[in-house]
């Protein structure tokens, strides 16, 4: 679980996770990036006393729920450029279904239950991103 205030490349942490879990059948991952169409910059705000503990609770819940051998979530904060990675979620498990489901679970919860606020700069200025109704319905799948 890491919050990073500068850019990162997903490859090294993914390789480390795979090496750390030799007993796993595989590693599933998702890398979310800043869209390039019409977006000039993205700012991610967070509230440190809540954000990191929230991510750690999420990790504990995911490991328990899916019986993971390992997982990682790296999330950017601060100012991001188009096409740069925002979030990397990855899970290692014995079977691929557990690993893929865990990544979906992590992403669903990060999207709508973690303490991040996001605004985009477009040609006409800054716009705050509202949570989407479909992000909440995505969460309902897990309850």
């Amino acid at each position: 679980m890491r919050l990073l205030d500068r850019g990162f490349s997903p490859a090294p942490p993914l390789a480390r996770l795979a090496r750390a879990c030799p007993q796993s059948g595989g590693v599933a991952s998702y890398v979310g990036t800043v869209r390039s169409e019409g977006v000039l910059a993205l700012e991610l705000q967070h509230y440190p006393p809540l954000t990191l503990p929230g991510m750690e609770n999420l990790a504990v819940a995911a490991v328990e729920r899916f019986g993971l051998d390992g997982l990682l979530v790296w999330h950017r904060v601060g100012m991001l450029r188009p096409a740069s990675p925002i979030v990397l979620a990855a899970a290692a498990a014995r079977h691929r279904r557990q690993a893929l489901d865990a990544v979906e679970y992590l992403m669903d919860h990060l999207k709508s239950a973690a303490w991040f606020w996001k605004r985009e700069r477009r040609a006409d200025g800054w716009h705050w991103i509202e949570p989407r109704a479909e992000d909440f319905s995505a969460l309902d799948r897990w309850t």
């Binding site: 705000q45 006393p49 809540l50 979030v87 709508s112 303490w115 606020w117 996001k118 705050w128």
Partner: protein, 87 residues
Amino acid sequence: MSVRVLFLGPLRDLAGRGESEFVSASGDLDWPELLAVLESQVTPALADAVRDLRVKLAINGAVVADREAVVVRDGDEIALLPPVSGG
């Protein structure tokens, strides 16, 4: 007493700043009193936005379950948390 209030996400734009320090001669603040401080010392638009029930409140890093029942004490850090849009 003095309290620090943090404005997260879109509330930052309404407040025109990321945080404020409020000093008052009176004692602890309850929820209506806190709203009154925001209204008079920042802007009424901010107080209105905070009245939205989706805006959550954290005191010293812990989210408050029932914000109506809150009591703010000297030295507290209050974070005003609008709906998130992460990922």
